[in-house]
Structures are given as structure tokens and as C-alpha cells.
């Protein structure tokens, strides 16, 4: 699971959970896979991201590096900054671990990089 996906994931489908965001990450195995850098995509996705969630998620799995705590104003033209964001968003992957719902504490396991978001019938 990439941190880009984590930034969009919630557990609001659970019964009794209203927001379910952000999910906590318990990582057991993290991999870094280099992928092609696309500055246009990264600068388009930044306004959609919840920056604090991204920073905290990166920090909790030890890959925050020198990612700034806030987005700078002129990020479209700052290639260095975009590259850092690209690295954290799509190159860092959680392979094994768990996602934790902030409200109910329900755990979603991550196996081979695929989070299991299936719910039991009594949780709907």
C-alpha cells in the first residue's frame, strides 16, 4: 500500500464510525520501489492531499526524511520539493502490517501490500 492510497482511505463503512480518518499504520515491512517521476501528476494531486495525515503517516513508518511540515506556496515550480513528495507518495510501500481505525480500533491487515478492507456482516 502506497501512502497516496492511505491518504484517501477511511474506515467510515464500519457501523458507528462517522469519520474514520486518518487510519493509523502499524508497519512490519516497508519497501521502497523507484518509479518514474511525473511532476504534473504530483502538483495536481497536492491540493487534494491531507498534508498533516501524509506527514504523520510518513513519520510513523520512518520515511518522513526532510519532508516539510507544511506545503510551500509556490510548489508547482519547486522540482526538489515535488520529488520529495513523489518519493513519499508512491515510492514508499507498506508490504506487511496493519491499518487501525481511529474511532473503533478495528484492525485491517495488510498482506503482500494489499490492505484487507472486507467487513464482517455484523460490522455493517
Amino acid at each position: 500500500m502506497k501512502l497516496l492510497t492511505h491518504n484517501m482511505l477511511t474506515s467510515k463503512c464500519l457501523k458507528g464510525v462517522n469519520v474514520g480518518y486518518p487510519l493509523g499504520i502499524v508497519a512490519k515491512d516497508v519497501k521502497v520501489l523507484e518509479t518514474e517521476f511525473n511532476s504534473e501528476f504530483v502538483s495536481r494531486i497536492i491540493p487534494k492531499l491531507d498534508w498533516d495525515t501524509l506527514w504523520n503517516a510518513a513519520d510513523s513508518i520512518g520515511h518522513a526524511g526532510d519532508l516539510p511540515r507544511a506545503v510551500c506556496d509556490d510548489y508547482e515550480n519547486d522540482v526538489e520539493f515535488l520529488k520529495k513528495v513523489h518519493h513519499v507518495l508512491v515510492e514508499v510501500e507498506v508490504i506487511e502490517g496493519e491499518l487501525v481505525c481511529p474511532e473503533s480500533g478495528r484492525k485491517f491487515s495488510i498482506n503482500k501490500g494489499i490492505p484487507n478492507m472486507l467487513l464482517n456482516e455484523d460490522e455493517l
Binding site: 500500500m1 497516496l4 492510497t5 484517501m8 487534494k48 494489499i114 490492505p115
Partner: protein, 273 residues
């Protein structure tokens, strides 16, 4: 062959053996890729890279089409065997194991669009006693509506069993707030006919034109006089040039490969032959 939805629930039907077909059978791959390309065309995206959702992504064949066009995607599927094949194929998109009928676990406004190839018909079946198809469809569509931005489209290729099922799906989508409808490609052919449900979240817009529909249809209105004249004339004589041309026209309407008409079409051979 019986419809796969009747044989077993999706997480059981798409076992390792069935999933293997989607990485080895070139005919299946070709069909999936063709339908995905058409679905992306119907999404009507601008040239920039977008963040898309692949619903029922399976082995990621449709995702690969999205990758080729420069988009980033997230796929969700209920069959872990199919997702394993996707991992083997080394797709770029991120994968999730989840049931569409339980709602999509995403934040509001996350995606620029969604595609789904041959997945929607699975939601029309009740595989467990707790399943209620209309309710599951509504949960799915309303959570999809929430996680897309307000200019996004969602395109579903699906195999409706009958008109009731099509009605069920579209009515639940409209209830969830979507605009749009079903586009049928090659409506005159049994084999090439494909159903695409095109949903729009940003207000009503004209539906895209289906493929393989003859242009002449619009124009002359129906009159009983024309019908009578036609009856008088009857069908053209078999093996005549008119008969051949009509037959070719019919094949074209069905989207089958047909040679174009020339001065040689249906011409008699010389006696020497």
C-alpha cells in the same frame, strides 16, 4: 454456458485456476483490454494525468490500460486470487481487497473518475442471506458519488441479464445522485453488443454516442405509406447486386468486418472463367 454469477459468489468463482486465465488466455485479455480502452474513451478525460479508481480491478488488465494513458489508479476487488495475479503482473496501481457492496472506504472527492469492467452484474445477486441487492447497489453508488469530485464520470461495462436488472442498476445510481444512462455499442449484433453505464456526478450532460449505429436512422420519419411501398417492392432477388449490397450493409451495422462496395461488388463473371 450459464452466467458465472449463478455458479458461485465472486470470491469463490475467481479461484486461482480461473484467475490464471486472465494472465494467460490471449482472447480474454484482448476483450478486456478493448473494453477498457472504450471505457476510458467514454470517461472523456482531459490530457493531464488523473487519479482514477478501478472497481473490480481483478488481475489489473484494465489498470494497465489506464497506466498506458498516463493515469495513476487504485484498484479494489473481492477476489484475493485475482489480486495475486495482479501482483505477479507487476501493475503500477495500488490494490485493495474489498467488497463493493459494502461501500467504498475512501475520503470525499478523492478521485477524478472511475472505470469498472464486467463487475457490476455481480452486485445484482444475493450470495448470502444477509445480502439485499438493491440496498448493496445503493450503498455502493452513494459511497462512489461521495468519493468522486464534481466533474468526474464513472463508466461501468457490464452484462445485464435482462431489462429489469438494467432498470435496478440505473435507478439505484440515480437515487444516489448520479446523472447519465446506458450506452449500447453495436446494438444490432448479438456478439459485439456491449453495455456501458455512464454516470456523471456534475449535472446532466448529453450521453456519448454509441459505436456501430447507422447514421441514416435520424431524418425520415415513419409513415405507413413507406411501409406499404416496401412491401410492394419486396426483398431484392437473391444473389443480385442489390441483395449483396443489403447484406453487406447489415453486416456493417453489426460491426462485423466487411469489404467496401466497389463497381466489382456482385458483378457477374465473364463466360470464359
Amino acid at each position: 454456458m450459464a452466467r458465472p454469477e449463478y455458479q458461485a459468489p465472486p470470491e469463490v468463482f475467481y479461484s486461482e485456476c480461473e484467475a490464471r486465465k486472465y494472465s494467460q488466455n490471449s482472447r480474454m485479455i484482448d476483450i478486456q483490454v478493448q473494453m477498457s480502452e472504450r471505457a476510458v474513451e467514454l470517461l472523456a478525460l482531459s490530457d493531464e494525468p488523473h487519479f482514477l479508481l478501478d472497481l473490480g480491478c481483478g488481475s489489473g488488465l484494465s489498470g494497465s490500460v489506464l497506466e498506458d494513458q498516463g493515469h495513476t489508479w487504485v484498484g479494489i476487488d473481492i477476489s484475493s486470487a485475482m489480486l495475486d495475479v495482479a501482483l505477479e503482473r507487476d501493475v503500477e496501481g495500488d490494490l485493495l481487497l474489498g467488497d463493493l457492496g459494502q461501500g467504498l472506504p475512501f475520503r470525499a472527492g478523492a478521485f477524478d473518475g472511475a472505470v469498472s469492467i464486467s463487475a457490476l452484474q455481480w452486485l445484482c445477486n444475493a450470495d448470502k442471506s444477509s445480502h439485499h441487492p438493491a440496498k448493496r447497489l445503493y450503498t455502493f453508488f452513494s459511497s462512489l458519488y461521495a468519493c468522486m469530485n464534481r466533474t468526474a464520470r464513472a463508466v461501468f461495462q457490464f452484462y445485464p441479464e435482462n431489462s429489469d436488472q438494467m432498470e435496478l442498476v440505473t435507478s439505484q445510481a440515480m437515487r444516489a445522485g448520479f446523472f447519465g444512462g446506458v450506452v449500447v455499442d453495436y446494438p444490432n449484433s448479438t456478439k459485439a453488443k456491449k453495455f456501458f453505464l455512464v454516470l456523471m456526478s456534475g449535472g446532466a450532460a448529453p450521453l456519448p454516442k454509441p459505436m456501430g449505429e447507422s447514421e441514416e436512422k435520424e431524418g425520415i420519419s415513419y409513415t405507413s405509406k413507406r411501409e406499404q411501398l416496401k412491401k410492394m417492392r419486396g426483398k431484392p432477388l437473391k444473389k443480385s447486386r442489390e441483395w449483396i449490397l443489403e447484406k453487406k450493409e447489415r453486416r456493417r451495422r453489426q460491426g462485423k468486418p466487411t469489404r467496401h462496395d466497389t463497381k466489382y461488388s456482385g458483378r457477374k463473371r465473364s463466360g470464359r472463367f
